[in-house]
């Protein structure tokens, strides 16, 4: 029972590894209620009125930044976004100083994307804000994994028992790492498929199967294509002989997609490389559903880190985690759009 007395610390979303199954389910359920309420002509909820969300992006981003900004606004939070270009980062300001500077404005949430692994952890140690990791190097992109689960659940009606084949450059993919962990949490199965040089040794420890044969996707309910980056072919890197050979071996073509499968991609897509345009534009592709999911899931995450009790600092006690569920989000008078 000593756990009950553990100090309550600020809650962050740094890695899927910090979550339990019920955390994931709670966030997805919150997102579902948010989607429902947003569908009803209500474009803005008062949930985070008076709260401040700062987005700090050290890498380019379209959908992640746009959806975090929009998510904060839809929850009535004050929000602002800082990009590394055009900010003091260009003058050589360290991440620590930028974080302390922004923290001085008293934000409730700092959303950070950074090219280096450990950036979100560093910010969480330096500030009192709730920190949401919007991607740190090749490590984690937890909100992407959550929105992917949400889109899968919407499309297929369940997560438990699903089989997801993740195809492509696993080695360099924070999306793959986060997704595989998230799938394991909700009882889904993952198979990583790609050329041997892009499957990191030891990755099966995440609880997934690994294959170098594209035929391994045939058994999957979901085929998840990862973005292939051209710099992997750079001299001295030598992960792949050519994009042409990659596409021939691992491209997601209509011929390789079985009836009943859905296809996902985190974007931005390289049409004609990892995904055939005929697949990308077909009804089996959930790419725009993923983007839509991004908005509601990020709303749910912002709400969750601010409003929910901390995870991981203690073991859940029987009965304690009974549904405090999503309904509080929807209390109060919705603002008119």
């Amino acid at each position: 029972m000593a756990e009950l007395l553990a100090p309550v610390v600020r809650r962050h979303l740094l890695s899927i590894g910090d979550l339990e199954r019920e955390d994931v389910e709670r966030i997805l359920d919150t997102a579902t209620s948010l989607a429902r309420s947003l569908g009803r002509e209500v474009k803005r909820l008062p949930t985070l009125r008076g709260r401040t969300v700062i987005n700090v992006f050290y890498e380019s981003s379209t959908r992640t930044l746009a959806s975090f900004e929009l998510a904060a606004k839809r929850l009535s939070a004050d929000t602002m976004s800082i990009r590394s270009d055009g900010s003091s980062v260009e003058k050589g300001e360290s991440l620590k100083d930028t974080a302390l500077t922004l923290a001085a404005y008293g934000p409730d949430v700092i959303v950070i994307r950074h090219p280096s692994i450990g950036a979100a952890q560093l910010v969480s140690r330096l500030t009192d804000a709730h920190v949401v990791n919007a991607g740190d190097g090749k490590h984690q992109h937890p909100t992407q994994a959550l929105l992917d689960l949400y889109a899968m659940r919407e499309a297929l009606g369940r997560l438990d028992g699903l089989h997801v084949a993740v195809v492509g450059d696993v080695q360099h993919s924070r999306v793959a790492r986060s997704l595989v962990q998230a799938l394991a949490l909700v009882g889904a199965r993952a198979t990583l498929v790609g050329p041997p040089t892009l499957l990191p040794p030891g990755i099966e420890a995440l609880g997934c199967a690994v294959s170098t044969d594209i035929g391994a996707i045939s058994d999957a309910d979901v085929v998840y294509a990862l973005r292939m980056q051209r710099e992997r072919m750079a001299p001295g890197e030598a992960f792949l002989p050519s994009l042409r050979e990659y596409t021939a071996l691992y491209g997601i073509t209509p011929e390789r997609v079985r009836a009943g499968q859905v296809v996902m991609h985190p974007g931005p897509m390289n049409r004609g490389v990892e995904i055939d345009p005929r697949v990308a534009d077909s009804a089996v592709a959930l790419v725009t559903d993923q983007v839509r999911a991004g908005l509601v899931v990020r709303m749910a995450v912002l709400y969750d880190v601010v409003a929910q009790r901390p995870v991981r600092e203690r073991e859940p006690v029987a009965g304690e985690r009974e549904r405090s569920d999503a309904s509080p989000v929807l209390t109060g008078t919705p603002d008119a759009a």
């Binding site: 590894g17 360290s94 991440l95 620590k96 950074h114 280096s116 692994i117 450990g118 950036a119 952890q121 560093l122 330096l126 740190d136 190097g137 090749k138 490590h139 984690q140 360099h172 993919s173 924070r174 790492r177 990191p200 040794p201 030891g202 990755i203 420890a205 995440l206």
Partner: protein, 424 residues
């Protein structure tokens, strides 16, 4: 004169306690009388809970001088050594400028005579500027007092250059201390290649990057019949290669750090830059192999690889942080707490590998507790518990992997070359 320090008056004092000197087979209660820096009397009957042990010798310390005196100076680094129970240390030459000429070495030796609290030896670079190409003037450097030669921080990439260095070092009678790393395999690597690197997405630095160079360097040492010392071993495969070479009488010694003996790459999951070092923390079976080799004596030295870094350089995302952690002030306590108390490695083995082992590997006088010997002693309170905090260090840097940890066993007094250099 390999070891130099500040001149001062030799001390006269009496110590009492359990004298543990494994290299001499002593473990008994004694009263030790030191007169004018020399042990003059050992009598039975010492009281008290303290242990009196031969002073420690650290063959691998970065004093960051010249060039990065903001991180460590001869004064602060040797004060840290004194607080850690060390009576002798060897400093690495990867400074700015590199210690690759008698001029730079000479000025360091001079400064050490002013500033160094404990006897300090300076290694010189194997190659000019540690660039791995032309040899440094090894004969002149040895003449000027170089303790050994190393390009530590980098490997000697070319086998041909290392071979020439081994042959030429015959003129010096000093060992080459080798940092074994195949850069083509470790490039972009931050942590051990394994499940943790795969999970975290961090660039992998496989065991093979070390062991393939260990194999190469031992083959060259065997061919040239020259003495080599393998620095900071981390991988099981390296230990296997070392033991095979020792069995065929290759003249090699090796060291291991406290952090590689205590931690595994599991610690990296915190993404705390203070567990980022080169070579990286490896898997549990690697750690087991290192502990075994330490017990058997194939690895005869514990070396801290004390690597101070400025605070702002470590307060960055893990991936951007430089390699290296401090260790002089925590070495004994970390090993005592994590290895001796749980019964993993005996106190005798730890004490021997902290003192006589490294002294022998580098041809230094072994600290001995015997009548007529210069007093080189550490006094340990094995009952004491203490917490590692930033403000508790004498080192100028605080990048310790033990911050916040409570350790057992504390150095309370250090006598180096006949002088008391530390008293808690």
């Amino acid at each position: 004169m390999i070891l130099v320090c500040r001149n001062g008056r030799a001390d006269t004092l009496t110590l009492e306690g359990r004298v543990v000197a494994p290299a001499q087979g002593i473990d008994e209660r004694l009263r030790v009388t030191v007169d004018d820096g020399v042990i003059v009397r050992l009598e039975p009957g010492g009281d008290g809970s303290l242990a009196i042990v031969p002073g420690f010798v650290d063959p691998h310390v970065h004093l960051r001088t010249p060039g990065r005196e903001d991180e460590e100076t001869l004064a602060t680094g040797t004060a840290a050594a004194a607080a850690g129970g060390y009576c002798a240390i060897l400093a690495m030459p990867n400074t700015d400028p590199v210690v690759d000429s008698a001029a730079v070495l000479g000025s360091l030796v001079e400064r050490a005579r002013e500033e160094a609290v404990v006897p300090t030896g300076f290694m010189a670079a194997i190659t000019q500027g540690q660039r791995g190409e032309g040899l440094s003037e090894m004969a002149e450097l040895a003449e000027a007092g170089a303790a050994a030669f190393t390009d530590d921080g980098r490997p000697v990439e070319s086998a041909a250059v290392l071979r020439q260095a081994l042959r030429y070092s015959e003129l010096t009678d000093r060992p080459l201390a080798l940092h074994c790393e195949e850069l083509a395999l470790s490039r972009g690597g931050h942590v051990h290649e394994g499940t943790v690197s795969a999970e975290l997405g961090l660039g992998a630095y496989p065991s093979l990057a070390e062991s393939v160079m260990v194999e190469r360097d031992l083959a060259l040492a065997a061919l040239e019949e020259r003495r080599v010392h393998l620095m900071h071993l981390s991988a099981r495969e390296s230990v296997t290669a070392l033991e095979r070479a020792l069995a065929s009488h290759v003249p090699a010694t090796a060291e291991v750090t406290p952090h590689h003996l205590v931690l595994t790459d599991d610690a990296v999951r915190t993404l705390d830059p203070n567990v980022k070092m080169n070579p990286p923390l490896r898997a549990a079976d690697d750690r087991e192999a290192l502990r075994d080799a330490l017990r058997r004596g194939a690895i005869s030295c514990i070396a801290t690889d004390h690597a101070p870094h400025a605070r702002h350089e470590k307060e960055v995302p893990f991936e951007e942080a430089p390699f290296g952690v401090t260790g002089l002030e925590t070495a004994f306590a970390s090993l005592y707490t994590r290895l001796v108390l749980p019964g993993v490695v005996s106190l005798e083995t730890i004490l021997e590998r902290l003192s006589a082992g490294p002294a022998r590997a580098f041809g230094l006088t072994e600290p001995r507790i015997e009548v007529g010997a210069r007093a080189n002693l550490a006094v340990l309170d094995l009952e004491a518990a203490w917490t590692v905090t930033e403000d508790g260090f004498r080192s100028r840097s605080v990048n310790s992997w033990l911050l916040g940890e409570t350790l057992r066993g504390r150095v309370v007094r250090t006598i180096a070359d006949g002088r008391e250099v530390f008293a808690a």
